[in-house]
C-alpha cells in the first residue's frame, strides 16, 4: 500500500488495534473513525502509537491497542519500562472522523472514540500537544519520535499538515 513518507526508513505502519512503543517512525494509513493516539517522551526521543478502534474494552485484554482504555494503560506501561516518566510525556490525538452521510448513527463511532481517549488522557494528567479530530475526512498519520517529534497528517482531500 501507499507508504510514501517512510520510503527510505524503517517506518512501521500499524493496522487496526495495534500498538507499538519505540524510537522508530510509526504511522497509520487510512484512519477513519479510529484514533491514532501518540504518546511522546521528548527527553528520551521515545514514542508510543496506538490505532484505537473502539472506546471501551469491557474486560477484553487480548488486543489492548484496539480499545481506548487498554491502549492507554499498556502504552504508558511499555514506555515506563523503557525509562519514560509520565510528567515528560505529551499526547497527540488524530482521527475520530464521522465518515458516513445519510447514515445510521451506529457507523459514526468517531465521536465516542474521541471522548474516550480524552477522558483517559485527562485521568492520567497527560497534556494534549496537538489534536486533529472529528470532521468527515479520512487521514493518514506519520510520526518520527526523534527530539521534539515530527508529525505529518495527510487528509483524504489532499491537504497535508506537518509539525
Amino acid at each position: 500500500m501507499e507508504n510514501n513518507f517512510f520510503d527510505e526508513e524503517a517506518g512501521v505502519i500499524l493496522g487496526l488495534g495495534e500498538l507499538r512503543v519505540g524510537a522508530y517512525p510509526m504511522g497509520t494509513i487510512g484512519l477513519g473513525s479510529c484514533i491514532a493516539l501518540i504518546l511522546h517522551d521528548q527527553r528520551r526521543s521515545l514514542a508510543g502509537l496506538a490505532h484505537i478502534m473502539l472506546p471501551e474494552s469491557r474486560g477484553n485484554t487480548e488486543r489492548p491497542g484496539k480499545f481506548a482504555d487498554t491502549a492507554m494503560s499498556v502504552l504508558l506501561e511499555e514506555m515506563e519500562n523503557l525509562g519514560s516518566v509520565k510528567c515528560s510525556t505529551t499526547a497527540i490525538v488524530v482521527g475520530g472522523a464521522s465518515m458516513f452521510e445519510f447514515s445510521a448513527s451506529s457507523l459514526n463511532i468517531g465521536d465516542r472514540n474521541i471522548a474516550a481517549v480524552k477522558d483517559q488522557l485527562h485521568e492520567q494528567r497527560i497534556g494534549i500537544e496537538y489534536e486533529e479530530t472529528g470532521g468527515k475526512v479520512g487521514r493518514s498519520v506519520y510520526y518520527w519520535p526523534e527530539g521534539k517529534g515530527r508529525l505529518i497528517v495527510k487528509r483524504a482531500d489532499g491537504t497535508c499538515i506537518a509539525l
Partner: protein, 204 residues
C-alpha cells in the same frame, strides 16, 4: 478464525450467486457487458485490513443486513471516484470526466449501490430460504480503508478477525470498476455455516 476448505467453498459459491445477480443488474443499467471475478473468501485479522482494502479515494456505499437476521453485518459496494463520475455521466448523458465529485455523483453512487446490493441480497437469501434486506444506504467518499474502519468497528468488537467476501466487477465501455464486499458478523457467519451445511447434506 480458521476457515475449513468446505466452508470456504460453500461461502464462495454463496457469494458468487449474489455477485452474479448484482453484476447482471449493473450490466442492465449500463447496457454493456460486465465481467466479474470469482469471489474471494478471506478471514482477515483486523490488523491486516490495510493490506486488503486500498487507500484510494472511493465511493463506499454501505448497507446493514436486516430482515430475518437482525443486524447481520454489512454489504458494501466500493467504486473508485473515476468510476462514479463515469457512471453519472453515462446516466445523464454528459461527458466531462475531469471534475470534482458533486451531489449528482453521490446520488448516483447510492442508487447504483442500492440496485446492486438488493440484487445481491435477494439472490443469496433465496438460496438460503430466508429474508435478507438491505438497510437504507450510508455513503462515504473518502479513502476506502478509512470508511471500512467504521464497519469493522461494528462487526469485530469482540473478535479480532473479519470474514470478507470480495468480488470485483468491471466493464470496458464505459470504463467502470467496482468491488462488492460482504462482512457478516459473528452470529450471521455461524448461521451461514449451518445453513450451507444443510444445503450440502443430500450430496454427502
Amino acid at each position: 478464525m480458521e476457515l475449513d476448505p468446505i466452508h470456504k467453498d460453500a461461502l464462495a459459491e454463496f457469494g458468487n450467486i449474489g455477485a452474479a445477480h448484482a453484476a447482471t443488474s449493473l450490466s442492465q443499467m449500463l447496457m454493456s457487458p460486465v465481467e466479474m471475478t470469482v469471489p474471494e473468501v478471506l478471514a482477515i485479522d483486523i490488523a491486516e485490513l490495510h493490506n486488503y482494502i486500498s487507500n484510494e479515494i472511493s465511493a463506499v456505499v454501505v448497507f446493514q443486513i436486516q430482515g430475518e437476521i437482525a443486524d447481520g453485518g454489512y454489504v458494501v459496494v466500493s467504486m473508485p471516484r473515476e468510476t462514479i463520475i463515469q457512471l453519472t455521466n453515462q446516466m445523464l448523458g454528459t461527458t466531462d470526466t475531469d471534475r470534482e465529485i458533486n451531489e449528482m455523483d453521490q446520488s448516483a453512487a447510492i442508487e447504483i449501490g442500492n440496485i446492486m446490493i438488493s440484487a445481491f441480497l435477494d439472490a443469496t437469501a433465496e438460496l438460503l430460504g430466508i429474508v435478507m434486506l438491505p438497510s437504507p444506504p450510508a455513503l462515504a467518499i473518502d479513502m476506502a480503508h478509512a470508511a471500512f474502519e467504521s464497519i469493522v468497528a461494528q462487526v469485530a468488537s469482540d473478535v479480532n478477525d473479519v470474514l470478507i467476501f470480495n468480488t470485483e466487477l468491471t466493464s470496458e465501455a464505459p470504463p467502470v470498476y467496482g468491488s462488492i464486499f460482504m462482512l457478516p458478523n459473528v452470529e450471521l457467519t455461524q448461521q451461514l455455516f449451518t445453513m450451507l451445511e444443510r444445503l450440502m447434506e443430500p450430496l454427502a
